[in-house]
C-alpha cells in the first residue's frame, strides 16, 4: 500500500501539500514573525517588508503571521471533527447494518430526517442556540454531518456482512462483537480511509465557509475563512487581503482532495 502511494504521483503531490500545511501548523509559533492577533491601527496596510512579509491588514495585523496561524485553525478544527465524525458514524453505521431489522429501519428513518435539513441550516440554528466558539462549531458540524458518513459506513457493512467468510465465522461460533471488530471493520477500513480523507477537504471548506459567514469562530481570529470575510471590505483598495487566505484554502483543500482521490484510485481502481 505504502509503495503504491509512493509510486502514485498524484498521491505524492497531495501528501507533500498536506505535509507542508501540517508543518506550518505545528511550527506556527516559530514560523510566524509577529503575534497574529496583535492590533496596531498605526500599521494599517503597511507594505511588504522584512518585518511584515505580506504587509499588514486594516488593523495593522501581520498578514503572513495570520496566514501561518490560520493553518492551525483549519487543521486543528477539521481533523478532530473528522475523528469524532468517524467514531460516531462507524459505531452507529456498523451496528445498524449488522443488526438489521427494526434497528436498521429506525436508523434509516432518523438519517432521512437528518438528511432532509441542509447542514448550513442545522449549523446556523445550533450556533445560534449554543453561541459562538470552536467547541460549538465542532458540535454543530458533527451534529449536521454524522448521518452522511454513517450512511456510507452502513452501505459498506451491508456489502460485507453477507460475504461467505462472515457466514463462516458465524457458523464457527464467533460472537457478534468479534465479527464486527475483527472481521468487518478491518475489511472495510481501507474504503473508509478513502472516504474520510476526501471528506476532510469538504469539512475544511465548510468550517472556513461558516467562519466567512461569522459563525463559530470568535471575531478577529486568524482563521482563513474569517480573514477572507473581513478582507471583502477592501476588495478594491487591497485585494491581496482576500487573495492570500483564498490561496491558502485552495492549497490545503487541493492537497487533501488530491491525496484522497489518489488513495481511492489505489484501493479501488475499478471504480474509476
Amino acid at each position: 500500500m505504502l509503495k503504491k502511494i509512493y509510486k502514485n504521483k498524484q498521491a505524492m503531490v497531495g501528501l507533500i501539500m498536506i505535509f507542508i500545511v501540517l508543518f506550518i501548523a505545528v511550527f506556527a509559533p516559530i514560523i510566524a514573525i509577529n503575534d497574529p492577533e496583535e492590533i496596531n491601527p498605526m500599521n494599517k496596510f503597511v507594505k511588504t517588508s522584512p518585518h511584515y512579509p505580506l504587509g499588514a491588514d486594516q488593523l495593522g495585523r501581520c498578514v503572513f503571521s495570520r496566514l501561518v496561524y490560520g493553518a492551525r485553525y483549519s487543521l486543528g478544527i477539521s481533523i478532530p471533527t473528522l475523528f469524532i465524525l468517524a467514531l460516531i458514524s462507524i459505531s452507529i453505521g456498523t451496528i445498524s447494518a449488522y443488526l438489521g431489522g427494526r434497528f436498521d429501519d429506525i436508523f434509516s428513518i432518523i438519517s432521512d430526517i437528518f438528511m432532509a435539513f441542509p447542514p448550513l441550516i442545522v449549523v446556523l440554528s445550533l450556533v445560534g442556540a449554543l453561541g459562538q466558539g470552536i467547541r460549538n462549531i465542532v458540535a454543530a458540524v458533527v451534529f449536521s454531518m454524522w448521518v452522511w458518513f454513517a450512511k456510507i459506513v452502513r452501505s459498506f457493512v451491508l456489502m460485507e456482512k453477507n460475504k461467505e467468510y462472515i457466514i463462516a465465522s458465524k457458523i464457527a461460533g464467533c460472537s457478534d462483537y468479534k465479527i464486527i471488530m475483527s472481521h468487518i471493520i478491518p475489511n472495510i477500513l481501507p474504503s473508509l480511509i478513502v472516504c474520510f480523507s476526501t471528506g476532510i477537504a469538504g469539512l475544511m471548506l465548510m468550517i472556513s465557509g461558516f467562519s466567512f459567514l461569522g459563525l463559530g469562530i470568535e471575531a478577529g481570529a486568524a482563521e482563513w475563512g474569517s480573514m477572507l470575510s473581513s478582507g471583502r471590505a477592501y476588495l478594491y483598495s487591497h485585494p491581496s487581503l482576500i487573495v492570500y487566505p483564498g490561496i491558502c484554502i485552495l492549497f490545503t483543500a487541493a492537497g487533501f482532495n488530491l491525496f484522497g482521490e489518489a488513495l481511492r484510485d489505489i484501493i479501488s481502481p475499478k471504480e474509476v
Binding site: 498605526m42 488593523l59 495593522g60 478577529g220 478594491y236 485585494p239 487573495v243 485552495l250 482521490e261
Partner: protein
C-alpha cells in the same frame, strides 16, 4: 489525472485574473490619463448621457415590507429603515436645522408663557398625495392618533406624545395643542418625522386604527409618493402631483434592496445603482476609494449626526467600579481610532454629546489617552495580575467582560476588535460578540451585557429624547438608563429638567447632568459620526444634506 490538472490550472487562472482585475484600482491613474479615455468609465457607459437625468436608483439594506406608517417603534417594525426615507413622503409641522426650529407645514407658531399651549398657524392650500386637504382637523386627528399608535413606546420616541392633553381646532388653519406639563424639547419633538409626520386622514380607520392602505401607500404631503414594487425587491417612488413645494430634478426613484455593504459598492461601480447614502451603508475604506475616483462624487455632512460610544453595565462586576470605567476611558486611543479606523471622517469625541447640540456646550475636561493612568486606576481598585497570564484579577475574579455590538459593518467589527486590543494592554480580557440589531437590543434590555457598543439617537433627538430616556422608569433603553443610575434622585432630576421653561434653568440642569455623566463615566464616547453620500457623478452633480442630515432627500439631488 489530466482532468484534475486542467481543473487546477483553471482555478489558478481564475484567481490570477481576479488579482489582476482588482489590482487596477491600486495603481493610481492620473487625471490626464482619465481624460484621455472619455467614453470609458467604470460604470460601463459608452455614450454620453444626452438628456437630463430624471430617474435614479439607490440601495438600502432593508425592504419596505412593514409599510409606510410614520410611527415606527420596535413593535411596529423589524427595522427602522423607513425612518431615513420619511422626508421624501411626509412633512412635520416644524423643521429642525443647525439647532434652530424652522417653519414647515406650520408657517408660524406661538408658545404660551407657561409652556403648556402650542398654537400652530398652518400653511394653506396643502394637499396630501391621495388628494385629501391638509387643515387643522387633520392635524388634530394625527396628534390624537400618534400616542395610540405608539403603544408601549408612547413618549420614548418623542416625549411630547405622552404629554398631549387636548388638541383644539381654532379655525380651519389654526390648531392649539394643550399639554399636561411643559416640555423644553417640545418643538424639537414636533420636528421628528417619526412619529410626528402628518399623514392623510384616509390612513386612519373610523375605529381609530391604522388603515391597511398605509402598507402600500405613502399618504403624505412630501415631494414623492410610493408607486410600485417589482419582484426583484425594487421599490419605485414617483413625484407627488399634489406637492406644494418646488419641482425637483428627479421625478422617479427606485430603492433596490442590497443587504451587504460590499455588494452595494459593487452595484454602484457596475452602474446598477446611482448612489449610496448613509455612513452605515458603506465602509470608510470603500468611501475613500470612491472619493479618489473621478467617476464618482462624494460628500460628507458638516454637522455631526450622532455619537458613537460604548456603554457599561453599572450593575455588574467589574464595570460597577468607577475606577474600572475611568481606566477604560484612559486606555482607548481615540485619536488613533479616528485616524486609522474612521479615516478622519469621524472625529474623536471627548464628551457624550457633541458640543454643537443645544445646551451641550458645557466645559468638561477630556480623559486623555494615558495607559499608565489607566493601570494606576485599576491597581487602586485592587486589580492585579497575580498569576502572570496578562489578565488582572481581584478576589479571584478576572477582569473580564463581553462587549456586544451590532454587526454588519466592517467599521463596527474593526472598532470592537481595536477596543478589545487596547483594553487587553491594561490587563482586561474582553470577548467581542457581534449581533444583529434586534438580538443586540434584546440582550441589552435583558441586562445581559458588560459593555455595549452603539450610537446615540442622533439629531433632533439628541440631547432631548436621549436625556429623557435616561430615566430608568421609561425602560426603553437600558444602556442610556445607566447614565444617572448612581444617583438616588437621578429620575427626579430628569423629570424636573423636562418640565423646565426658563432657558437659564435648563442650562443649569444640563451643566449638572453632563458633568455627572462625564465624571461617573457610564459611557465611553468614541467619535462623532457624520453622514455621507457616494454617487455616480455622470448622473448626479451634487447633493446638499438636509437639516437633519440622516434624512435622504431625493429632491435635494442636483442632476446633470
Amino acid at each position: 489525472m489530466e482532468k484534475k490538472l486542467i481543473a487546477m490550472i483553471f482555478a489558478v487562472l481564475i484567481m490570477l485574473s481576479l488579482l489582476a482585475g482588482c489590482s487596477r484600482s491600486t495603481e493610481p491613474v492620473n487625471n490626464e490619463e482619465k481624460e484621455n479615455i472619455p467614453n470609458q468609465n467604470s460604470v460601463g457607459e459608452t455614450e454620453e448621457i444626452a438628456t437630463k437625468t430624471s430617474e435614479i436608483t439607490l440601495c438600502e439594506s432593508w425592504g419596505f415590507e412593514n409599510g409606510f406608517a410614520t410611527v415606527i417603534t420596535p413593535e411596529t417594525s423589524t427595522n427602522f429603515g423607513l425612518n431615513f426615507y420619511l422626508a421624501n413622503f411626509y412633512e412635520t409641522l416644524v423643521n429642525y436645522e443647525d439647532g434652530e426650529i424652522l417653519p414647515s407645514l406650520a408657517k408660524s407658531w406661538e408658545v404660551s408663557e407657561d409652556g403648556l399651549i402650542y398654537t400652530f398657524y398652518l400653511k394653506e392650500g396643502v394637499k396630501f398625495s391621495d388628494g385629501a386637504d391638509f387643515n387643522a382637523e387633520v392635524v388634530k386627528k394625527n396628534l390624537e392618533m400618534i400616542p395610540r399608535l405608539s403603544g408601549a413606546y408612547n413618549g420614548s420616541v418623542a416625549l411630547i406624545t405622552a404629554l398631549f392633553k387636548e388638541i383644539n381646532v381654532i379655525d380651519e388653519y389654526t390648531v392649539e395643542v394643550h399639554m399636561s406639563s411643559p416640555y423644553y424639547g417640545a418643538l424639537h419633538d414636533f420636528a421628528k418625522l417619526n412619529p410626528m409626520a402628518m399623514v392623510s386622514p384616509n390612513a386612519f380607520n373610523e375605529d381609530n386604527t391604522l388603515s391597511d392602505k398605509i402598507f402600500t401607500n405613502t399618504m403624505g404631503t412630501g415631494p414623492y409618493m410610493y408607486d410600485s414594487q417589482s419582484d426583484e425587491k425594487i421599490y419605485t417612488f414617483i413625484s407627488n402631483p399634489n406637492y406644494h413645494g418646488g419641482k425637483s430634478d428627479i421625478i422617479k426613484f427606485n430603492v433596490k434592496v442590497i443587504p451587504d455593504q460590499e455588494a452595494k459598492a459593487l452595484a454602484l461601480r457596475k452602474g446598477e445603482i446611482d448612489m449610496i447614502f448613509g455612513f452605515a451603508q458603506i465602509s470608510y475604506d470603500g468611501f475613500k476609494v470612491f472619493s479618489d475616483d473621478n467617476n464618482f462624487g462624494t460628500n460628507i455632512s458638516d454637522t455631526p449626526i450622532r455619537t458613537r460610544f460604548f456603554g457599561f453595565n453599572l450593575s455588574k462586576e467589574p464595570f460597577n467600579d468607577k475606577n474600572v470605567r475611568l481606566a477604560v476611558n484612559h486606555a482607548i486611543d481615540k485619536e488613533n481610532i479616528s485616524k486609522n479606523i474612521f479615516y478622519d471622517i469621524e472625529k474623536k469625541a471627548d464628551t457624550f454629546f457633541n458640543s454643537e447640540l443645544p445646551y451641550c456646550d458645557v466645559e468638561l475636561k477630556p480623559y486623555e489617552y494615558n495607559v499608565d493612568k489607566a493601570i494606576q486606576l485599576l491597581e487602586q481598585s485592587g486589580y492585579v495580575d497575580t498569576d502572570g497570564d496578562g489578565i488582572r484579577e481581584k478576589d479571584g475574579n478576572k477582569l473580564e467582560g463581553e462587549l456586544l455590538y451590532i454587526s454588519g459593518s466592517s467599521v463596527t467589527d474593526d472598532l470592537a476588535l481595536t477596543v478589545k486590543s487596547f483594553l487587553n494592554k491594561i490587563g482586561m480580557d474582553i470577548k467581542v460578540t457581534g449581533l444583529d440589531m434586534m438580538a443586540w437590543y434584546a440582550k441589552t434590555q435583558a441586562d445581559e451585557f458588560a459593555i455595549a457598543g452603539r450610537e446615540t439617537y442622533g439629531i433632533p433627538s439628541d440631547p432631548f429624547t436621549s436625556i429623557s430616556n435616561m430615566n430608568t422608569q421609561t425602560k426603553v433603553d437600558n444602556i442610556l438608563a445607566q447614565a444617572l443610575i448612581h444617583l438616588e434622585d437621578g429620575d427626579e432630576i430628569i423629570n424636573k429638567l423636562n418640565t423646565l421653561v426658563k432657558e437659564n434653568e435648563i442650562q443649569e440642569e444640563y451643566d449638572f447632568i453632563l458633568n455627572e455623566i462625564h465624571s461617573n463615566s457610564p459611557f465611553v464616547p468614541i467619535s462623532h459620526i457624520k453622514e455621507l453620500i457616494v454617487y455616480n457623478s455622470k448622473k448626479i452633480d451634487a447633493y446638499e444634506f438636509d437639516g437633519q442630515p440622516s434624512n435622504i432627500r431625493i429632491d435635494f439631488l442636483k442632476v446633470k
